[in-house]
């Protein structure tokens, strides 16, 4: 039981990390928390369901197309809704919260309240270390999640674009003085944040089917991970995501399944009480 709960925690933790990276990127650059993060996650799940199951596309093509569409949608949202609120955090919170409710109800209208599930990528189960049999789809999700996280890290740490991102989140004005077009960067990073939510969505949708409100707990967990790891810290997201995934699943296995999502908030409360800047955050953040 310990082994299988840990394995579940690892899989879901990788996805939490991925989803939290998207939140963290946007917080770091724009100081905006996107409360509709979970709805972008769900949107990607619906898209991949639509393309793969209804239109019969190849699974990989459907996934890439879904992420691209959500990325474009994110760019549009930034341009129309977030851009006018620069410098006014209050309104970006209000607008993204309203957007999340609008999207939830739009999904309800379009797709109905039923869970939808895109087809799996692989079938069968594998014997893990001779301990237990584990669904191949979940293992594939774990591998895919780790790959996407690695790509994000490589992009932020190694490329020129990543250098701009890091510079801007460290000191916005200095970056501007050095010729960074921060307005365009805002738009791009918001879109990328949404695309990371979308990546988490398409990876997890074959395991956990999407419903109109299934994004809420995922987004909430991503927020907890970001606070736990420290706002704007990338390693914080990875460590925080895995921690939260493990705590939730071990807690569900040994304490109570009904309270699965509460354990994350207990962590949030502890972090705020003991070390509000998070594991990897700066003291003054």
């Amino acid at each position: 039981m310990f082994a299988i709960a840990s394995m579940n925690g690892l899989v879901i933790g990788a996805i939490y990390a991925l989803s939290a990276l998207g939140v963290s990127l946007v917080v770091g650059i724009m100081n905006v928390v996107n409360f509709a993060h979970g709805e972008f996650y769900i949107l990607a799940g619906y898209f991949s369901f639509l393309f793969a199951s209804t239109f019969g596309m190849n699974v990989v093509v459907a996934m890439i197309l879904s992420i691209t569409l959500v990325f474009v949608f994110g760019l549009m949202v930034e341009y129309t809704l977030i851009r006018p609120t620069y410098g006014d955090d209050l309104y970006s919170l209000i607008l993204t919260f309203i957007l999340s409710i609008v999207l939830q109800n739009a999904y309800l209208l379009i797709f109905g309240p039923y869970p939808n599930k895109p087809p799996g990528w692989v079938k069968g189960a594998t014997n893990v270390f001779g301990l237990f049999f584990y669904g191949n789809q979940r293992l594939a999700a774990l591998v895919a999640g780790i790959c996407v996280i690695a790509v994000v890290f490589a992009m932020i740490k190694l490329t020129w674009f990543g250098r701009i991102v890091r510079a801007t989140s460290q000191d916005r004005e200095m970056a501007e003085l050095n010729g960074v077009d921060t307005t365009r960067l805002n738009m791009l990073s918001f879109g990328l944040g949404c695309a990371l939510a979308a990546a988490a969505g398409v990876i997890l949708a074959p395991v956990f089917p999407v419903t109109p409100t299934a994004g809420v707990p995922v987004a909430l967990t991503a927020f907890v991970v970001v606070v736990l790891g420290g706002m704007g810290s990338m390693w914080g997201c990875v460590i925080g995501g895995l921690t939260l995934g493990l705590v939730e699943n071990l807690g569900a296995a040994y304490l109570s399944t009904g309270y699965k999502h509460v354990f994350g908030f207990v962590i949030l409360i502890l972090v705020l009480a003991i070390r509000p800047s998070g594991l990897f955050g700066h003291k003054d953040a």
């Binding site: 928390v33 809704l81 209050l90 607008l95 309203i98 509460v262 705020l272």
Partner: protein
């Protein structure tokens, strides 16, 4: 002279409003009572969001705490509902104080995140502890008086609404209110002038949560059934849209917003699920293009250039 004229107009309007339900049927009386409930919710949320610039997503959750605390005390402990209402209000304020102490020193975004999490925890607890709360079935509670009468409830809600509005008005126009706005306008400047920023926010958040608890407790005893819908995010969203559409940071804005949206929602009830979507789109457009809401539009169009009377 003008001051007295205004007072006379407000007083006359209030008297007219107070005799209005005598001319209406039971259904319209119900709509008025729900309007008053939302006025309380929106006005107290506005105290926090509009005057100190902190966004709480747990306002409906605090109303839920008031409702469930009062309801459970009445059903399980057999206390008189009025005692429960007071206890519910106090408990909501206490939870507000605790949550506020936890996250307000970290600034804006943390309060929004924590209250959202808090509201989710409450939702999970209510659904899991169904032996006490009856979960999604809803908890049946006794009414505030022996003989159920819409008119009596109307006057109770009217009194509670006036109480809420007076508290908000007095607070905003007191020294503390000046501090609220100072903190909202420029946190650092206010802090440099000796305003204890955290304490100011904590005061606003605690009072606002307590008032939400009062509204929730009364609402529960009016509906006679407390369901997890009271502390839901949908409810939170309604309160938020009412304030934003009416006018964030203005005194009459939330009142106007609450009445407009509640009456509108009765008209489009036939559309069922669509009505949240419609409200969302309206709220999105208003928040994007007219961030000061209906009151802001009115002022920009017809308002004379005189010092803002809040």
């Amino acid at each position: 002279m003008k001051r007295y004229r205004n007072k006379f107009i407000y007083g006359a309007g209030l008297v007219l409003f107070a005799i209005l339900p005598w001319t209406l049927g039971v259904y319209n009386q119900h709509v008025l009572i729900v309007c008053l409930f939302y006025t309380m919710m929106a006005a107290s949320w506005n105290l926090l969001a509009g005057y100190t610039g902190q966004i709480s997503f747990g306002h409906a959750a605090f109303a839920g705490i008031g409702a469930y605390a009062s309801g459970i005390l009445a059903v399980k402990a057999g206390l008189h509902p009025w005692v429960g209402v007071i206890a519910g209000t106090g408990l909501a304020a206490l939870f507000g104080l605790l949550v506020g102490m936890l996250c307000l020193r970290m600034g804006g975004i943390y309060l929004s995140l924590t209250t959202l999490g808090f509201s989710e925890i409450l939702h999970i607890v209510i659904n899991n502890e169904y032996e006490i709360t009856r979960g999604t079935m809803g908890l049946q509670v006794p009414g505030l008086m022996v003989d159920y009468s819409k008119l009596a409830y109307f006057y109770i809600f009217l009194a509670a609404t006036l109480f809420t509005l007076v508290v908000v008005y007095k607070l905003v126009h007191s020294n503390a209110g000046l501090n609220f706005r100072a903190v909202q306008n420029d946190e650092r400047a206010a802090s440099a002038l000796g305003v204890d920023v955290v304490r100011v926010r904590l005061l606003a958040f605690t009072v606002s949560s307590g008032l939400a608890g009062l509204a929730g407790a009364l609402y529960g005893h009016y509906m006679l059934l407390i369901t997890p819908h009271i502390p839901s995010l949908d409810q939170q969203f309604l309160v938020l849209s009412m304030t934003v559409i009416g006018g964030l940071g203005s005194f009459v804005g939330p009142v106007i917003g609450a009445f407009c949206l509640e009456i509108l929602s009765e008209y489009i009830r036939a559309w069922g699920e669509y009505h949240v979507l419609v409200f969302g789109l309206i709220a999105l457009i208003v928040a994007r293009f007219a961030p000061k809401g209906l009151v802001g539009i009115y002022k920009a169009r017809w308002g004379k250039s005189r010092p803002a009377a809040a």
